[in-house]
């Protein structure tokens, strides 16, 4: 079949306007498909991460936005003493926008030693010692740094919080790269004196054999009659609940992904049908020369697959580059979903392009292969 590749490629060149339009249409559709898939992947990573299922988040009962949750910091001590609890991290969260936003800035203040031990941060600039030595020091996620053009040594202010960038980090948990970590007491003071001694949430780490639901229920039961009642969920569930509205929207957006696939199918199939109709006589000549009908079929399917794959790879490539360099993320109520490129995304996109190309060529291919040679040779052109 490869010996006919020059014939296929020259056929594209001979009808380059049509081929280019099909390839660019496919590329745009696959770009959107790639983007939609990245959004879905981001949400899935956030809510279905294994660690997120083994970590609890304690939040003030009936509160949603981080600014409204105020838990006494001394809850930490009691929770740390519960069976199966291996560690508790008090976290103060400050965000410039509680609603869904593509450029929300989320500060998380926590004790420096807990930050270092609980997060797998890889500093690409700055150092831990600089962070630990500066009261207003901040470790900025790579995505935020890219988006806001932040680098080590720069000071910046958001929502009356002014920090000094002492490090930029990357993280295996991509959503983390949209956060800015500060010292807990600094962030408490930065929000006014009445914030001292209170935190937004507590992150509770459990032993491997812990009964997650039981520990959560124990914590909530203990504080039900206390000064501030709590709601304790797994980190995955907490994030899913917080992002519920967005998740619904993202769930709807995945239909856009299907629509893109349908669009590519229609586009490539239309081009292939047109191409076959233009060359009925040519296919008759090829069969006269000795090409088997199934070879004609394969040539046409190869043609549609090449077009679709070329456009698909172009669109996926553009999508991955765009996602890599923009560091896009959507945040709501202090929780962020990052849109990151991945190998899975590239492979899925490539498979979709190939499959759609094959499907688009089947009917025109059958049509061309079934046409009687004498009928084909009588066609004008």
């Amino acid at each position: 079949m490869f010996q006919f590749l020059p014939y296929l490629l020259k056929g594209f060149w001979g009808h380059r306007a049509r081929a280019m339009l099909t390839v660019s249409g496919t590329a745009v559709a696959l770009f959107v498909f790639c983007f939609v898939s990245a959004v879905q992947d981001g949400l899935l990573r956030l809510t279905q991460d294994k660690q997120a299922q083994r970590t609890l988040v304690v939040f003030q009962e009936n509160r949603f936005c981080p600014t409204s949750s105020r838990l006494p910091q001394d809850y930490t001590k009691h929770i740390a003493e519960l069976p199966s609890v291996t560690g508790v991290i008090p976290i103060k969260v400050v965000t410039n926008n509680c609603r869904a936003s593509l450029d929300a800035i989320v500060f998380q203040g926590m004790p420096a030693e807990k930050l270092r031990s609980s997060r797998e941060l890889n500093l690409t600039a700055g150092s831990w010692s600089a962070f630990e030595g500066a009261d207003d020091g901040a470790l900025v996620g790579q995505a935020v740094a890219n988006r806001r053009n932040l680098s080590v040594g720069k000071k910046f202010t958001i929502n009356e919080v002014t920090v000094l960038v002492t490090g930029v980090f990357q993280s295996p948990t991509t959503a983390e790269e949209n956060l800015i970590y500060t010292h807990l007491d600094f962030l408490q003071r930065a929000r006014g004196q009445n914030s001292v001694g209170t935190v937004t949430q507590m992150e509770v780490h459990l032993s491997d054999d812990a009964d997650v639901d039981h520990v959560a229920a124990t914590i909530d039961a203990h504080y039900r009659g206390g000064p501030v009642a709590t709601t304790t969920r797994t980190k995955g569930m907490f994030q899913a609940d917080t992002l519920a509205d967005l998740a619904e929207l993202i769930g709807f957006i995945h239909y856009l992904g299907y629509a893109c696939v349908g669009l590519v199918l229609a586009l490539v199939a239309t081009t292939t049908v047109m191409s076959v109709q233009d060359r009925i006589k040519e296919h008759g000549v090829l069969q006269t020369i000795g090409l088997r009908p199934n070879r004609i079929f394969r040539l046409i399917v190869s043609e549609s697959t090449l077009l679709s794959t070329a456009g698909g790879l172009l669109g996926i490539g553009a999508g991955l580059v765009f996602l890599s360099f923009t560091g896009l993320a959507v945040a709501a109520e202090g929780v962020t979903i990052s849109f990151r490129p991945s190998m899975d995304l590239a492979i899925t996109g490539a498979i979709v392009s190939v499959v759609v190309g094959v499907l688009a060529g089947i009917i025109p291919g059958i049509q061309a292969a079934r046409t009687k040679i004498v009928t084909a040779l009588r066609q004008a052109g």
Binding site: P6, E282, Q287, T288, I289, G290, L291, P293, N294
Partner: protein, 236 residues
């Protein structure tokens, strides 16, 4: 030696409610090295007979044996394989692939046969030389005259050294001078390369270059024997 035997071949097709029978119990023998012209009025069925012998049209009844193989019994796929190695077809309208150069057009039938790239290249060069178009090898059909295109078509038909070369009105679209050149070329294909040629034409002068002249009238074949007598071919 008998190369092609057409035995009691009938062709019928429906035209609305009417059944047309252009060929009725036709018999014909073509020998190795023959150059046979087939004449007849428009719609007499001469191209249909040619196409059936070339294996691109189906018979309604009867047999066509080529080197002992009944090609009417072959499946579409096997018939395609048979055409690739046994038949070279010269069309009236050249029918070159427009996106391929003269060289690539001539090479196309060889892509279907098992041979090395070097052997392929050698054969294409010989075929182009035979039709005097070596200097046009890299030209596209749109860059050539009708006569040159037809010569490329002839090169494509002979490049695989087929058992049988069929030509359907090969000079139908050409001017007198080019017609003469093409007929001369066909004669060389028959005389020098020893290929068996079957040509459909409505041009009496063109038919006269053939060794045998057959006429198709009212579904029956008659062969011209001499100036005065014609013999109806009744038995294969």
């Amino acid at each position: 030696m008998t190369l092609v035997q057409v035995k009691n071949v009938t062709k019928q097709y429906a035209n609305g409610e009417e059944t047309i029978t252009p060929l009725n119990e036709v018999n014909l023998e073509v020998h190795q090295g023959d150059f046979l012209s087939l004449m007849g009025a428009s719609g007499s069925g001469k191209s249909t007979l040619l196409n059936m012998i070339a294996g691109i049209d189906e018979v309604t009844s009867g047999e066509i044996l080529v080197e002992g193989t009944d090609i009417t019994k072959l499946s579409r796929g096997k018939l395609a394989d048979w055409r690739a190695s046994h038949v070279g077809y010269i069309f009236q309208t050249h029918n070159l692939i427009p996106v391929l150069t003269a060289y690539e057009n001539v090479e196309m039938p060889l892509l279907l046969l098992k041979m090395s790239a070097a052997e392929r290249r050698k054969r294409v060069e010989i075929a182009l030389e035979a039709v005097n178009l070596t200097d046009r090898a890299t030209h596209y059909p749109r860059q050539m005259s009708g006569g040159q295109e037809q010569r490329v078509g002839i090169a494509r038909a002979i490049v695989a050294s087929p058992t049988l070369v069929v030509a359907d009105e090969p000079t139908g679209n050409l001017d007198d001078e080019t017609t003469e050149q093409i007929l001369e070329l066909l004669q060389r294909v028959n005389n020098e390369l020893g290929m068996t040629l079957l040509m459909v034409t409505h041009d009496i002068e063109a038919s006269e270059i053939a060794k045998r002249q057959i006429r198709l009238e009212r579904g029956k074949l008659t062969e011209r024997q001499s100036e005065s007598t014609n013999r109806e071919i009744t038995a294969a």
